[in-house]
């Protein structure tokens, strides 16, 4: 099984949200500093997310249940993403691959993943639902198409018996039970399973497990971020007393025009 995840911006988040500090994935290409913008709390969440019942945790759980198999972690990013990669290994992955390149856009990332997934002959490729910075919801579909295999996205449940997987796919207003044969790509909705907190042994072991650094293949010139912008600042909350509840409703009609 191959677990892919972890954008570089997740590893080095800094700063508050103001327009000057909004420089994301393509910002670097534009020749500016690559600064991720997300409040610190969410970053911590994301790193925890690796352990918190996401794709990596489920892959390891499945491997343990089957009593065989391997879990490889793959990230497309520069050296600073290794912090996140080691975290994923520390909860029980066997080894890791870092494709040494800035993840320019979804298609670029998908090409790398598809290439190394094919090379490794993985039967299941697990991903997150969407990257926390870019909110693309793109990479899993692209990888599936590049490899000519199904993508199930986003999945709430994943079980595997032999070469058949049973998944629950979320659609607007409901879910579908889907059965597919390996190989396939799955985008995992958290929490898909119990969280896995790394223990001391895992953390020590992670230091010695192999992390292979490989070079990127191909390129993508399909999309580029021209600039980032912020939504207009909120005016501040307009408060009403309990007795003025009816006035609030009126304001929603006449002022906010939403009723």
């Amino acid at each position: 099984m191959l677990v892919v995840g972890g954008r570089p911006t997740e590893a080095k988040l800094v700063g508050q949200i103001d327009s000057a500090s909004i420089v994301g994935p393509a910002g670097k290409n534009a020749g500016r500093d690559s600064i991720g913008l997300v409040v610190d709390e969410r970053v911590v969440q994301e790193v925890k997310g690796l352990q918190r019942g996401g794709a990596a945790a489920r892959a390891i759980e499945l491997k343990e249940a089957a009593g065989s198999g391997t879990v490889t972690v793959l990230n497309v990013g520069e050296a600073d993403t290794e912090v996140i990669i080691r975290k994923a290994i520390s909860i029980g992955a066997d080894d890791a691959i870092r494709v040494n390149a800035f993840p320019k856009d979804a298609f670029f990332v998908a090409q790398q993943i598809a290439h190394y997934a094919k090379e490794g002959g993985y039967d299941v490729i697990l991903m997150g639902k969407e990257s926390i910075d870019f909110n693309g919801f793109q990479v899993h579909g692209m990888v599936g198409e590049l490899l000519g295999i199904p993508t199930i996205a986003p999945a709430l449940k994943l079980d595997i018996a032999g070469d058949t997987a049973t998944l629950e796919r979320e659609i607007e207003g409901g879910k579908e039970v889907v059965e597919v044969k390996t190989p396939f790509v799955v985008s995992c909705q958290q929490p898909m399973c119990e969280p896995r907190i790394p223990n001391m042994r895992g953390i020590m072991a992670a230091r010695t497990k192999p992390l292979k650094v490989v070079e990127a293949i191909g390129q993508s010139d399909r999309t580029a971020v021209a600039q980032f912008a912020l939504p207009p600042a909120k005016q501040g909350v307009k408060l009403f007393t309990v007795e003025q509840a009816a006035d609030l409703v009126k304001a929603l009609r006449t002022e906010a025009k939403v009723l």
């Binding site: 969410r42 298609f107 796919r169 879910k175 912008a229 509840a245 609030l248 929603l252 009723l259």
Partner: protein, 325 residues
């Protein structure tokens, strides 16, 4: 050259978000001096498809194959790709839904197109390049993404554009098929479990949402939320702890780990406004917060608020909404 719009349907009708997508596609077509054709997926009647003329669609391609009633990723992709080829579409517009975005990313590879998901505005067209504003960082910021190359795919976020209704305009509905084989149904659902929508309004599609948190104290008090939702024609939602303890079903939970909603109106009742909750709601147009704690973080993200007890405030709001008529 034309613009191809993917229309999602359910229970015989076009989804509300797809009416927005149709409007978006027709406007892009107008920008390009061409027409917009639609291709429909899901269960729908021809009469309802013809009504897409109101949004500016001239022609609708429809494959009535019963196997396409529910979402099948591979088959939908093949059908849409065939329609794009037939219409020589250079621009493809879909909903940024679980279905639309999943299909869109696959089509981006198959059609060698550049892709923008989560688009919130019409593109700015500059020769062959489109610049599209899209939501990033869970609605906290926007990125203006330039799409290059000959073909573009845009997945439009819900409630980003208002659906137009030019009464009396109809689209021509044409039957269409794309030689689907068994292999295209590899991911066909074995079972479909749709959430029951008692009020008739599906949360991800709703343009008004009334949401309850732990401050509602227990499931026995949810009639207060439901009454207000009914009076408003809104869907109901909840915070994560509420669904964790089964006061409400899991599919109602919004936030980082649940559904992301972007309605015109989001009313939060007894919800503290934790960052993980806000991640799912902060692109709502207008946020109203009812909380007895004036220090609740949600007030910082709100447009309107009442500092007070939900049990006192909710009945008053419901009565006032009913009085509006």
């Amino acid at each position: 050259m034309s613009v191809l719009v993917v229309i999602e349907c359910d229970h015989g009708d076009v989804k509300k978000s797809s009416l927005e997508v149709a409007t978006y596609g027709a406007k892009v077509a107008a920008q390009l001096g061409t027409t917009a054709t639609a291709v429909a997926v899901g269960e729908v009647t021809a009469a309802n498809l013809a009504k897409l003329g109101e949004q500016g669609i001239t022609k609708v391609l429809h494959d009535a194959d019963a196997r396409l009633k529910h979402f099948v990723n591979l088959a939908y992709v093949k059908l849409i790709a065939a329609a794009a080829q037939q219409e020589s579409a250079k621009v493809l517009v879909l909903a940024n839904s679980n279905i639309g975005a999943t299909v869109g990313s696959r089509l981006a590879v198959r059609l060698e197109a550049s892709l923008a998901t989560n688009a919130v505005e019409l593109p700015t067209i500059n020769g062959a390049a489109f610049t599209v504003r899209r939501g990033v960082y869970s609605g906290k910021a926007f990125a203006d993404v330039t799409l290059m190359g000959e073909r573009k795919i845009i997945a439009v976020k819900k409630n980003s554009i208002e659906a137009e209704h030019a009464a009396g305009q109809t689209a021509e509905v044409v039957s269409f098929t794309a030689a689907l084989t068994d292999a295209d149904f590899a991911d066909a659902p074995k079972e479909v479990k749709m959430a029951s929508t008692e009020g008739g309004i599906l949360l991800p599609e709703a343009d008004k949402v009334v949401s309850g948190g732990r401050g509602m104290k227990g499931p026995e008090n949810w009639h207060l939320i439901e009454d207000l939702a009914k009076a408003l024609g809104a869907a109901t939602a909840c915070s994560k702890p509420v669904s964790d303890v089964d006061w409400r079903p899991h599919h109602e939970h919004v936030g980082q780990t649940g559904i992301t909603v972007s309605p015109n109106l989001y009313i939060a009742c007894g919800i503290s406004g934790a960052i993980q909750h806000l991640a799912g709601v902060n692109s709502s147009k207008v946020i109203v917060v009812i909380n007895k704690d004036p220090e609740a973080p949600f007030f910082k993200a709100a447009d309107y608020g009442i500092v007070g007890d939900v049990f006192e405030v909710l009945p008053k709001l419901t009565a006032a909404v009913k009085a509006l008529g």
